[in-house]
Amino acid sequence: MNSAVLVFPGSNCDRDLKAAIEVVTGRTPAMVWHRESALPDGIDLIAIPGGFSYGDYLRSGAMAARSPVMRAVTAAAARGVPVLGVCNGFQVLTEAGLLPGALMRNAGLSFVCRPVALDVANSQTLFTQGYRSGERVTIPVAHHDGNFQADDETLDRIEGEGRVAFRYAEECNGSARGIAGIVNDAGNVLGMMPHPERAIEPAHGGTDGRRLFEGLLEAVA
């Protein structure tokens, strides 16, 4: 599986994501700087990392969503290339209009940094085939703006279409209907606030993130 990890000024989980993809797929992802206008040919996965791109100026993910590389990502997503956005990557995807809704300041106003229990809401997506629906997993979160909000009509639609991939099994940040991760209508773009790349090796304290990458590899290969 050939993959690319985007790097924005202020990204800080790009190397973690690279390491996770490398361990699971055996291939080193291309690291693609935000100023690039094209992605490497024959890419099977685009990963948008966590961090604080552009210092979260204006709104989290707002600047990164308008950077040159995102035009190439939008075009690739439209061709069906899988796109995974984690944390700030999820914020970038909503700001770019590739996913619905918005990620607002956590309801409790605090930065939340801890392992959280998640329920796999749909194991049939491209990204969640390594899990069973209804399974409870533990994956760390680390964010200030993870409070997913959308209007009721949008929430009803994404729930009705089975586009909620993960839900918080415990209160985390005030997200509407406990949503932690969603896919787009075509199913090839996933945004999630928890960090699967931080739960790969037993030394990380848990390995529940690893199956996301393994399931994706199996689905794509």
């Binding site: 707002a62 909503t94 619905p100 809704g101 918005a102 300041r105 106003l109 409070n147 005030g174």
Partner: protein, 78 residues
């Protein structure tokens, strides 16, 4: 020319920052506050003759996230 863009959360969108400001004001002893909503003011310095439509496009494409925010443009005489 100058323009001011006011970006505010849409009615009904929860504003935890506004709530925190509200609590802090009450903690300082100010009473009679029934609600606080926080927003942003963005001042643009523009070439003379920049159209309202162009400023509105800036708001829609970047300055406001219209999923959760409204904006209002105010043109300012120098």
């Amino acid at each position: 020319m100058k323009a001011r863009v006011f970006v505010t959360l849409k009615p009904g969108v929860l504003d935890p920052q506004g709530k925190a400001i509200h609590h802090a004001l009450e903690g300082l002893g100010f009473g009679g506050i029934t609600g606080v909503r926080a927003g942003k003011l963005i001042e643009l310095e523009l070439a003379d003759g920049t159209s309202e439509a162009a400023i509105e496009a800036m708001c829609r494409k970047l300055l406001a996230n219209t999923v959760i925010e409204n904006f209002r443009i105010e043109q300012v005489a120098d």
